[in-house]
C-alpha cells in the first residue's frame, strides 16, 4: 500500500511540469541566443559561468510554466535592465541601432553610385576631346596622299 502511494506521489511530481505546460511557447535553446550573460558579455549559449547557469535555470522554469519568449525577456529586463538582451529593443533611442546600419549602407551605395557616374562622365568627355583627324600636319598628309596615289 505504502509502495503504491510512493509511486503515485512520484508520478504526480514528474507529471506536474508536463501538466502545467503541454505545449511550450518558446525554448531554452532559442532564448539562450537572445539573452546575454551579464558577467561575461556573451550570449548564454556561449557562456559557462555561474551567472549564466542561474539565468538558464530561471528560463527553463518559465518555459515549463508556458511563459512566452517576450514574457521571459520582460522579466529578465525588469531584473537586470535592458542590457540583458542581446539585441536592442525596437523603440525609442534603441531604434538607432537598427536604422543606422541601413542608413550607412544606403549612404555608401549613394556615394559609390555618384563616384561611378562622375567617372563615366569624365571618361566620356575625355573621349570626345580627342582630335577627330589622323593627327598629322597638312604638309605631311598631302605628301602621304601623293605617295599613296602613286600605288593606285
Amino acid at each position: 500500500m505504502l509502495r503504491v502511494a510512493a509511486v503515485v506521489a512520484a508520478a504526480l511530481v514528474f507529471a506536474a511540469p508536463a501538466a502545467a505546460c503541454a505545449h511550450p511557447r518558446t525554448s531554452l535553446t532559442y532564448l539562450e541566443g537572445q539573452v546575454m550573460c551579464p558577467t561575461c558579455h556573451t550570449t548564454l549559449d556561449q557562456s559557462d559561468s555561474q551567472a549564466a547557469h542561474q539565468i538558464e535555470v530561471f528560463i527553463s522554469k518559465r518555459v515549463a510554466a508556458c511563459w512566452t519568449a517576450p514574457q521571459i525577456e520582460s522579466a529578465l529586463v525588469a531584473n537586470y535592465g535592458q542590457g540583458i538582451l542581446a539585441a536592442p529593443s525596437h523603440k525609442g533611442f534603441d531604434l538607432l541601432a537598427w536604422w543606422l546600419p541601413i542608413v550607412g549602407v544606403l549612404a555608401g551605395a549613394l556615394v559609390l553610385a555618384l563616384g561611378v557616374w562622375r567617372w563615366s562622365r569624365r571618361a566620356g568627355s575625355e573621349e570626345s576631346d580627342e582630335p577627330v583627324g589622323s593627327g598629322l600636319d597638312e604638309e605631311t598628309e598631302r605628301r602621304l596622299d601623293d605617295v599613296l596615289a602613286r600605288f593606285e
Binding site: 551579464p38 558577467t39 555561474q50 551567472a51 547557469h53 542561474q54 539565468i55 531584473n79 537586470y80 562622375r118
Partner: protein, 179 residues
Amino acid sequence: MTRRLKKGAQILALACVAGLLALLVWQLRHQPHAPGVGAVAPGFTLHRLDGPGKVSLASYRGRPVVLNFWASWCQPCKSEAAVLERDWTSYRNRGVVFLGVDFHDLNSDARRFVSAHELTFPMLEDGSGNVTQGSYGVSQVPETYVLNRQGRVVAHLAGPITDPAFALKFRSALAKAAA
C-alpha cells in the same frame, strides 16, 4: 558646383573622423575604475533587496560603512556571508553600517541566499550592475570596501574577506574606520 561638392564631402568626412575620435576619448575617460584608498567613495541610490524603498550611501555619511558586493551565484560569497554577519553583529553597536550590494543577480535567488545565510544587515539590489561595475569597477564578486566617517575609502579588498591575505587587512580597516 563640383568643387563645392568636393569641399562639402571633405568637410563631412573630417567631421565624421572628428566625431569618432571624440567618441573614443569619451569612452576612454569613462572607463570604470575602482576608487583608490583615500578617495571619496562614489555615491549611489539603490533599491532595497530586503524590503520596499531605496537606500542612499550619502544617508550614512558620518558613520563608517562596510560595502560588500556579492551575488547568490558566487561561491566564495557563501563562505564569506557568515563572517560578515558575525562582524556586523559585533560592530553595529559601534555605529558601523554594513551594506550588501547584490550584483548581476536574480532578486528571487538573492533573497533566498539572504534568508539561507540569515543575513540581517541591509541588502541592496544592483541587477544592471550600474553602480557595482560602473562606479566601483567591480567585475568579480565578492569585493569589499571599508569607508570612514567622511565617506573615504580606508580599504578595498578584491576577494573574499575569509581569504587569509584579506582577513587581517579587513579587521584593521574596520577597527580604524570605527575608531
